[in-house]
Subunit: 440 residues, 2 copies
């Protein structure tokens, strides 16, 4: 019944240690407590072979080094977010502190022997080298924000425990990405309108694999991949340099406007198909449910895989529990706002009294000040506002909510969007700050 249970069963009769090393996210006391219910006995110590637990057995032993500022949610696989306080200080997030969300060990890929396989075209399987990808296709560059479906999950956990990494507000970052257009690659290798009669999805497989050899996988609708305005890239550069190992070196998919989980890293295979990816992450994870749905009643087939994400915003300054001086008369508030599907953020409303009265923040986008084309606003907006301190207030409840150009807005509270996987957490962000009387 557990997600991925069919893989756990492959361990039957063998050592569990490699599984514990790979699915290290389970190494927590409450998981061990649950497992203890299913204990049926102990092996005869005489028949127990000693397991080596030195580095060579640890699939995570070759991971890259990471920036010490990152706030780590899980070491194996590595999942970390930048400190929220620095997130809105730069429109482009430096790659080293860009949030990292790995599902499996980081694979080591040799750029010389790297091959991208493309299946499902009339010409049969195509194998493309890295240098072919770079030389045969124009280098396209976009600025796009990626967000994990679990961003702000910690706020859902406060309502009621959910399953998943306890992300704060910074499982979101913004970078420039350069690479070949997936549309142009597919057309070059023989995609025709006839193919589209049956094909409805583009599947991606990573080179990151679990102990059974199964790769991370996901898919997106064909029309997103084929649209000239979809801007889907086979990216080999991030912020003007080769992709870092944690972000998919040498090639990843960047599907702008779409949840991070479909932006498959260490891309090994593309399959043009009539069906979605069969992977656990497409079928039995990364879907949204009603707050009334629990693990006894959930039917993963009943909900669509998350693709475009809903409107989102959060306050990066001031921090929860900090204080402002009454004599300052104003409080400066900063944050980010973004919406999926290329929908441009057109307004951020900010309140310092819990949502009773509202002020409109100033929005910032790229230094170039270019307006995105309609439906292609892939990057976030940063925002800032100085709000007068209300007379006599001892505490401020600072709230933000964003509006996109489809005039979708964020729900007021977390409870009614709570879901058992803790995804899609986009209620108003709230931060409480004390107002201190000035030192005499």
């Amino acid at each position: 019944m557990h997600p991925g249970g069919d893989k756990i069963l492959l361990a039957a009769g063998g050592a569990l240690e490699p599984y514990w090393a790979l699915y290290a996210v389970h190494k927590e006391e409450h998981v061990l407590e649950i497992l203890s219910e299913y204990k049926i006995g102990v092996l005869n110590p005489e028949s127990l072979k000693r397991q080596e637990s030195t580095d060579p057995l640890d699939p995570y032993s070759g991971e890259p080094s990471r920036h010490p500022a990152l706030q780590i949610n899980s070491l194996k696989p590595f999942n970390a977010e930048p400190p929220a306080s620095v997130l809105a200080d730069s429109y482009i997030t430096p790659s080293a502190i860009f949030f990292k969300r790995n599902h499996l060990p980081v694979p080591k890929v040799d750029p010389e022997t790297y091959r991208l396989e493309i299946e499902g075209l009339p010409s049969g399987v195509v194998s493309v080298t890295l240098s072919e990808l770079k030389s045969r296709f124009p280098k396209r560059t976009i600025t796009a924000t990626l967000q994990c479906a679990g961003n702000r999950r910690s706020e859902m956990n406060k309502v009621k425990q959910v399953k998943g990494l306890n992300w704060g507000i910074a499982a979101i970052s913004n970078a420039t990405w350069s690479g070949a257009s997936l549309r142009e690659v597919l057309l070059h290798y023989g995609f025709t309108p006839e193919v589209a009669i049956n094909a409805k999805h583009i599947q991606f497989e990573g080179l990151d694999k679990d102990v059974t050899g199964a790769a991370y996988g996901a898919s997106i609708p064909l029309n997103k991949a084929l649209s000239e305005e979809g801007d889907v890239l086979l990216a080999y550069e991030m912020n003007g340099e080769d992709l870092p190992p944690d972000h998919g070196y040498p090639v990843r998919v960047v599907v702008p406007g779409v949840v991070g989980a479909r932006n498959v890293k260490w891309l090994g295979r593309i399959v043009v198909s009539h069906e979605e990816s069969k992977s656990h992450w497409q079928q039995n994870d990364y879907k949204g449910f009603s707050p009334g749905t629990d693990w006894d009643t959930v039917d993963f087939k009943s909900a669509p895989a998350i693709q475009e994400l809903p409107i989102q915003s959060a306050i990066t300054h001031p921090a929860e529990g900090s204080s402002v001086e009454r004599g300052d008369e104003e409080v400066t508030i900063k944050g980010y706002a973004w919406s999926g599907g290329g929908r441009e953020v057109v307004r951020v409303d900010v309140s310092v009294d819990g949502g009773n009265t509202w002020h409109v923040a100033k929005l910032y986008s790229s230094d170039l000040g270019q307006n995105p084309a309609p439906g292609r606003a892939w990057a976030w907006k940063l925002w800032e506002i100085d709000v007068p301190l209300p007379d006599g207030a001892q505490e401020l409840e600072i709230v933000c909510k964003a509006v996109d150009n489809s005039y979708n807005t964020q729900p007021d509270t977390v409870g009614p969007i709570w879901n058992l996987r803790g995804v899609l957490s986009n209620a108003w962000h709230r931060v409480k700050v004390k107002v201190k009387d000035d030192q005499k």
Copy 2:
């Protein structure tokens, strides 16, 4: 300062009566009260020419007859919605009770002399007859829901007075529309990629005109009009018959997924342009603002014209203030749900305790049961659920909220999305119902 003030000024020195007849929506006591502040004197009765106010002077004297079931919000221009109680009884709304939103008198158009002018193409102005439109282009049919930007405005009025017609929950309806594809028409008459280098908008002008001769107008982004997946129609049929006079006979634009106001009726002119329509309704109306923005501070240039609408749903049964019998043990709840931009409604959550606990409703779409293509879910879904009566409850607060396939959802409350024009009212819909003890 009043919207349309430049047109009011054209009346200076002349009779006001034709303006009062045309902008009949202003014929209300509180408008007269405001105007009385600006009274600067009375004309010498000797110099006052008698004005005829018989029918020939009333531009609304030739309006079509209407179904008596319609609930009228304004007679001149005619604005009416069907009774909410019947709205969800039919997936396709009968044309006679489809909500009607006219801005000006209904023009009488002779199909024999009707011409659609198309401007802004390299070939110069093109003039197309109705029979050419029908014979030169394949007849395309879509099912699409139209919604007025002011649907559910009455709920905003309860928070604080707004300007606009006091719509209930039924300024939304669903029909099949047939006509020529706007994309195919533009390509046929010479639209080329070179045109698109400068052109960014498609403007529409109606044949409905005010006393100065200015037509109703609106525009949509060029990419919506040109996309194969945009499905924009020059429709000449509604529900399988000629368009009724109130719905744009002989030709209207149907822009699926986009606010009603851009679906221009009695279409007289199409202009391919580098700029949006200059009309009042595009520039100074049908835009969303922060709840903190009032008529003293509003800058209409600061907000984008509403195009795609946000996720929406409402309860059509039971009615506010009605009652259920405790012995029935369950209450049957029905309604509609829809989202703009072709985003499909994937779930409707229903609560009978004000939003503390939630149940998932069953969704219904067309009888054909066809799944819409991704991004082309133009039609609403109807929904229904039987919810057990909570033990001992004396009153139910029934609430619904919908989720679309971008996982956008509705905000919890009206206050924080309140805006001075009362548009985009899409908070959770709430209906209070009494639970009556059974008759002994």
